[in-house]
Symmetry: C2
Subunit: 516 residues, 2 copies
């Protein structure tokens, strides 16, 4: 196994060898990640069962308020007790157990290019940047209400990085009228990205418009469209225990057309949920089960993700907080509940910081580790999210991307064969030497290590000479470079024209005001 | 189980109840932490065995260079093959296996106060701030060579936070002459702190001085001193495969007097170690085994920690990097090797950033999670460390402390009993309400959540009104407050006088120059 000394010297010169022949080249595929981390438990299995049963008891005895008559009707037809006066729906546990048995454990999402397709199931890992912010901010233009330009730029930045797996509703383009906004956001996602697009559940008319645009852009028949998920919609409940009309309609419409919903009660411990991790997650779980049940009653087998977003508030001020120890614990418990029911699920990190500073970095990463150790399938708000979701920062988007890429590196195989151990190289270098010129190093140095986007490892002197710039300042350069690059259009000309024509017609007809 | 409606109303008023009667009060003890995280594996158990055997083979066939004649003699007397000409020591595997069987799996360290005593064993968790930096920096006074004043201030700050379990050699007080420096650093640690102090292995004379000071300060007989570890010494090998005289003497002297050594090869992949994780850790492991063996040959049962500090360099510039994916992987593999031999062990996080910015926060936390998931017993450089260890930042010390306290929160019990689930509270609040005034909340709100040191959760408007200050700027306020507080002296007057008198006498005798 060990080469003769002359072999060693040949290796030392190094460049004659073929690096691709080395077994231990670093190979990464940021587009397809499996979670390599052990899952953590906070509570014993029997207490997780107890929470599940408390949630079932709550739905059966105390019910959930459902504001949409059509949804109440669906629940009622399936056998739920409904009080039309109070809009309360009481769900027997057999209804929920039935729904959990038909909800798919594996969901295939078809994107604009096959390499961007996603399979969602326990054990997989997808990232999404910050979503739903009313404001955008960057170090050059400051904080402002989100605009169409911001939306378009941010879609371009998100498209740029493979480690962001899905398009989010990253900011709200407030300069576009609400009845036309959904055309713009879907067009932008379809033209400037080939990743899985998001569709807002803001009423049937908007959803059906979105589905039409998707079918047109992808060249799909109705049946082809419904056969897979071509987009996804985030569904929040109004905690505690209210499912509003827009969200209920989204659940029904997506289920009917085979499109994926991602059910996410947003529960802040001490505010709209109990102050305890166990209590907040029991409430969140109950709400999620009710929403998941509606999808399965609408269409058994409809793709739906379980989810939660549970953090805490500052009990002195009521201010929401993210990336806290309590947020971390809530993630872990949510993961235990998700594994109990076996569905793919979404979770989120976040930060309440007001700028991209050390607090922002610290909270986002702390929250991220909670989501990673909880076995989350889809991690939302993983990049760019500030102010508890009121702002997306261009710079934070870039610096968080570094963190996500570093995490993705940990998903890749690391060689441990005898060649990687490299006893011969250790012998070759001897005592007190260095490995820079060893053959073992020369064979691997070009691909051995992750190369950072933002981190600057130069020494203090060099860094000072370059202007003592912070990571946030360097991030400005990166996003400016990305948005200055020529815009790709990801739709073939024919499809592009058809989508344009559809939007022109529908806009002329008056668009579709959101269901509030 | 569920109270009547009138009971609920009584609860709602809340203040009449005794919160201490609530089962789910948050109780934390930052001084005694057990690692709550699942341990991660990167390589299969048989490849870890293969690395261990490669290390044994290396020590047996290729040896390690030991610069201290006394150490070579100890190895030789135990049966190792020694070549005095080349200073090479060849260690048979039976010698190493014997040493691993006598090295204690549990080490008791006695600090200045019983509540600061530490038990080191697999499963425990201790943090230590950045150590060994030649420079100090803060936002008010800038970056400068470390001084006695810096050392004293930093000891005071480290003493302030329970989550830092041991005193480090945090910076080098360069304004004190090398032959007197060890008096100053030990005096400062003994006077301004009751935590476990560090002693440098810089030659026998300095070590014995330090032991005398410790015995004097703690009022211990020689036998009482040797019965437990009252300090610890970090031992670095000179990778690849050299054990220098000062380090070898430290291993021997600490072992003889029952004081704990912490063996830490510092191996940068691609520079002084193979470019692969498997190769670098095999080398590191071999060096650690050789050092551990010296302690056990000196005194079987001597307290010694296994350890590693393995990261990578930038292969373009040769610059060291920390908190990288490769550093993380190295931590995980080191943890697998530590569990194989069963010893308590040290690991480290770090950052190569030049200031306390997002890069610094990101790298330190990323590295920290590698150490946490590797089951490290003692995590060094966990706060304040910049520039790959060339500088300790006062502000980073504070912002990293937040991260360590958040981590310590995850070590505490989280209630999951029926009272914590709080179904009654969920019922009481009803649909669409809030939990702020619920009895379940009122009973717990004062202690429910971690209260941050640095994180500011106020909204953008309030934060702007307060001056738009970053986390780093707020950290300046915190350390200034701490160092402005009156200085405690942790030694009783009699012991203090005796230490002073010892130092005066030894200084007059010429002190003790370091062994280089």
């Amino acid at each position: 196994m060990s080469p003769s000394p002359s072999d060693s010297r040949t290796k030392r010169s190094g460049r004659r060898r073929n690096p691709s022949a080395v077994s231990s080249q670093r190979v990464v595929d940021y587009r397809n990640l499996k979670n390599p981390f052990p899952t953590m438990s906070l509570f014993s299995d029997d207490r997780i069962e107890a929470m599940h049963h408390a949630a079932l008891e709550l739905l059966e005895a105390d019910g959930i308020k459902v504001l949409l008559a059509e949804a109440r009707q669906i629940y009622k037809q399936a056998g739920a007790r409904v009080d039309e006066g109070s809009q309360m729906v009481y769900l027997g546990r057999e209804l929920i157990e039935q729904a959990l048995s038909t909800a798919p454990k594996q969901i295939l999402c078809k994107a604009g290019h096959p390499s961007r397709d996603l399979t969602l199931e326990l054990g997989r890992l997808c990232f999404q940047p910050g979503a739903g912010a009313p404001h955008a901010t960057d170090c050059e233009r400051g904080r402002r209400p989100g605009s169409a330009d911001d939306f378009a730029e941010l879609v371009k930045i998100c498209q740029h990085f493979d480690v962001l797996h899905m398009m989010p509703p990253i900011i709200e383009p407030q300069d576009i009228a609400p009845h036309l906004r959904h055309y713009f956001t879907m067009q932008t996602q379809l033209y400037a990205s080939d990743k899985l697009p998001h569709i807002f559940s803001r009423g049937r008319a908007q959803i059906l418009d979105g589905f039409e645009m998707l079918k047109t852009a992808r060249g799909l028949s109705d049946d082809e469209f419904t056969a897979s998920s071509h987009c996804y919609s985030i569904i929040n409940t109004n905690s505690p225990r209210v499912l509003d009309s827009a969200m209920a309609e989204g659940l029904i419409d997506c289920a009917r057309f085979g499109q994926m919903t991602v059910v996410t009660p947003f529960t802040l411990m001490g505010a709209m949920a109990p102050i305890t991790v166990a209590g907040a997650l029991t409430l969140s779980h109950a709400e999620a089960l009710a929403a998941i049940t509606l999808t399965q009653l609408t269409s058994a087998g409809a793709p739906v993700c379980y989810g939660t977003f549970t953090s805490n508030v500052d009990m002195k001020s009521g201010a929401p907080a993210f990336g806290t120890p309590e947020h971390f614990k809530a993630s872990i418990v949510a993961g235990q509940l998700a594994r109990l029911i076996g569905l793919p699920w979404r979770n989120a990190t976040g930060s309440a910081a007001n700028i991209n500073d050390v607090q922002a970095a610290q909270e986002t990463q702390f929250g991220l580790w909670g989501t990673l150790l909880s076995g989350s399938t889809m991690i939302i708000h993983a990049a760019g999210w500030l102010e508890g979701g009121l702002t997306v920062s261009y710079e934070k988007l870039i610096t968080d991307l570094e963190l996500l890429q570093m995490t993705a590196e940990l998903c890749a195989h690391t060689p441990s064969d005898d060649d990687a151990i490299g006893l011969d190289a250790i012998r070759e270098v001897g005592t007190g030497g260095h490995f820079f010129a060893a053959g073992h190093t020369m064979d691997r140095y070009q691909t051995a290590f992750y190369e950072p986007v933002i981190s600057d490892w130069s020494n203090f002197g060099s860094w000072t000479e370059k202007g003592s710039r912070t990571a946030t300042q360097r991030a400005t350069d990166i996003w400016k470079q990305i948005i200055s690059e020529e815009q790709d259009c990801f739709l073939a000309a024919g499809f592009y024209d058809e989508v344009e024509s559809f939007v022109r017609r529908r806009s002329a007809e008056g668009g579709a005001p959101p269901l509030s």
